[in-house]
Symmetry: C2
Subunit: 273 residues, 2 copies
C-alpha cells in the first residue's frame, strides 16, 4: 500500500495481490504524453518477475513489448512460468486493462549466476564528473521527465523543434539518475534504460509522433554492483543505426560511476512520417 | 511436405497444419552440438508468425528465448495473437515437444510499413569482395556449419583451442550466405543473425560449454531490399561488450552487398565457467 514518504518509483511499481491476481495502478509522477513512461512499465513487469521467494535469482535479459496504450488507472499483471531449469528460469508477464487487451507483454530470463572468468571488452567513455555538467532543464514538459536528473555531456537533444539539415548525429552521452535520488536496483535500472529520448527528435531536430514498440535489456550488474553504485549518476551512451520506413532502432549502454557496464539495451521505435 | 529438390532451409522451417495445430520436425542438416542450430529455430518461429493471409506485413522485431533443449524429432507450434492494431501486430509463438515443456518462445512484432523520411546513420565497414576472401574451412565439425559459407575479413575465430592471453578482441567482420545459395527472405535473415559463433570461443581462444539464451532481431529490410540482395553474401559485423558471471552479450549488424543495413541483432549467451 502507498505510504506518504514513498519514492514515486516505489509507488509506481508496487503490486498488490488478491486471490492470486496481481494489480497495480498507473502513477501520475511517471506520466508521458499518452500513457505511462515506458521505462516505468518495464520496471513494473520486471518487479513482477522478481517477486517471490527465489531471492538469489538475478535478471539476465528482458524484452518488453508495448502492445497497446495503457490508460490511467488500474491494471492487472499475470505471470507465466515457461520453464524452470536448475539455474535459469524463463517467464512471461502480461499487463492487461480491459478484459482482453494485452497492453504490455514481457519475457524475462532469471538466473542464479556464479563467479566465472570475466572480461569487460567495452570501456566507459571519458566524461567530466556529474557535478561539473549542467542539469538539463526539463521545464515541466512531461511528468516523467521530472523523475530523472539528466546531464548531457554530448548530444543534447533538440527540444527547440528546429529542423536539422543535414540530420544530426543520434549519439548522446549523459549522466542520469532518479529524482529524488534513490539507490539503484534492478527495477530502476530497467526504468533508466528507456530514459534516453527517442533518437529521431534529435536527428531531425523536430518532434514527430513516435513510440517505443519493443525494448530489450541485458542486465550485466550483480547485486553487489548495484549496491556499490547506490544513488549516484549512471553514464548513458546512446546511439542509433537506422531510421527507415516508420521504425528506428536505438541502442544504449549504462555505466556505473566506476566504469562498470551495468546494462545494455536496444529498442525499436515507431515514428509516423 | 518435403520434396527431393528442397533447399534444406525450406525443409527445416516447413510446418504442417492439422486440426489447427502446427507441427514441424528438426532437420539433420541444421544440427548443432546438442540440438538444432538456434538460428533455424528462430527462422521456424518467424515463419509461423508470417504464416497467413496478411502478406503486406513485415517483421519489425522478434525476441526468441531458448528455454530448453530441443530433441531430434517432431515439435508443435502454437501462435497467440496478443494485439492487432491498424498497422502493427503483436504475436507470441511457442515451440513445445513434451506435453508441458516450452522449448522455445518468441515474441514477434509485424507491421505494414510505409515509406517515410529515412536516414541510415551507420555505414558498412570496408571489406574486399566476397570472392577475394578465403572461405572458412568448417571441416565437417557440425552439420549447421555446412549450411553457411563464411568468409572472414577480420576476427577469424579460434577453433584451435589455444588459450589467448590477453583475451582476443570479440570483433569479427565476415561475409556469409546460405549453402546451397538461396535468395534471402525474412526467415533466412533471422537464421543468419545467429550464425556468428559464440564470442567467448574467440575471446578466450578455447571452447567452453556455452549456449544462446535469448536473441533479439530488429528487421530493417523491406521485401524490395531482400529481392535486391538475392542470394549474394551479406556482410556481418559482430562484437561483444562484456562477458561476466556466466553470461556474455553479443551484437551484430547484417549488411546487404550494397551497404544497406538489413538487420541488427543482440543476444545473451550463457557460458559455464
Amino acid at each position: 500500500m502507498a505510504e506518504d514518504d514513498d519514492h514515486p518509483f516505489d509507488a509506481a511499481v508496487r503490486l498488490t495481490s488478491s486471490d492470486g491476481v496481481w494489480a497495480g495502478r498507473t502513477h501520475p509522477g511517471y506520466w508521458n504524453m499518452n500513457g505511462p513512461y515506458g521505462g516505468i512499465t518495464a520496471a513494473t513487469l520486471l518487479s513482477a518477475a522478481l517477486e517471490g521467494p527465489d531471492t538469489g535469482a538475478e535478471p539476465v535479459t528482458m524484452t518488453v513489448n508495448f502492445c497497446a496504450p495503457i490508460r490511467e488507472g488500474v491494471f492487472r499483471i499475470a505471470r507465466t512460468d515457461l520453464r524452470a531449469g536448475k539455474n535459469v528460469r524463463h517467464l512471461t508477464i502480461e499487463l492487461r486493462q480491459d478484459a482482453d487487451t494485452v497492453a504490455a507483454q514481457a519475457s524475462v530470463v532469471l538466473a542464479r549466476k556464479r563467479d566465472t572468468w570475466s572480461h569487460q571488452v567495452a570501456a566507459m567513455p571519458a566524461a567530466p564528473a556529474p557535478h561539473l555538467v549542467e542539469r538539463f532543464a526539463t521545464g515541466g514538459r512531461l511528468a516523467w521527465l521530472e523523475r530523472y536528473d539528466f546531464r548531457f555531456v554530448a548530444g543534447l537533444p533538440a527540444f527547440d523543434n528546429s529542423l536539422r539539415m543535414p540530420p544530426a548525429s543520434p549519439y548522446s552521452l549523459l549522466w542520469v539518475r532518479d529524482v529524488p535520488e534513490r539507490p539503484l536496483d534492478y527495477a530502476s535500472l530497467a526504468g533508466l534504460c528507456d530514459a534516453f529520448f527517442v533518437r529521431i527528435f534529435q536527428v531531425r531536430g523536430l518532434f514527430v509522433p513516435a513510440a517505443t514498440v519493443s525494448m530489450t535489456i541485458h542486465f550485466h550488474a550483480s547485486r553487489d554492483d548495484l549496491a556499490a553504485q547506490g544513488a549516484r549518476h549512471l553514464l548513458g551512451e546512446v546511439d542509433a543505426a537506422v531510421l527507415r520506413r516508420n521504425f528506428a532502432d536505438q541502442t544504449a549502454r549504462l555505466w556505473s560511476g566506476d566504469g562498470k557496464l551495468l546494462a545494455t539495451t536496444t529498442q525499436i521505435v515507431w515514428f509516423k512520417e
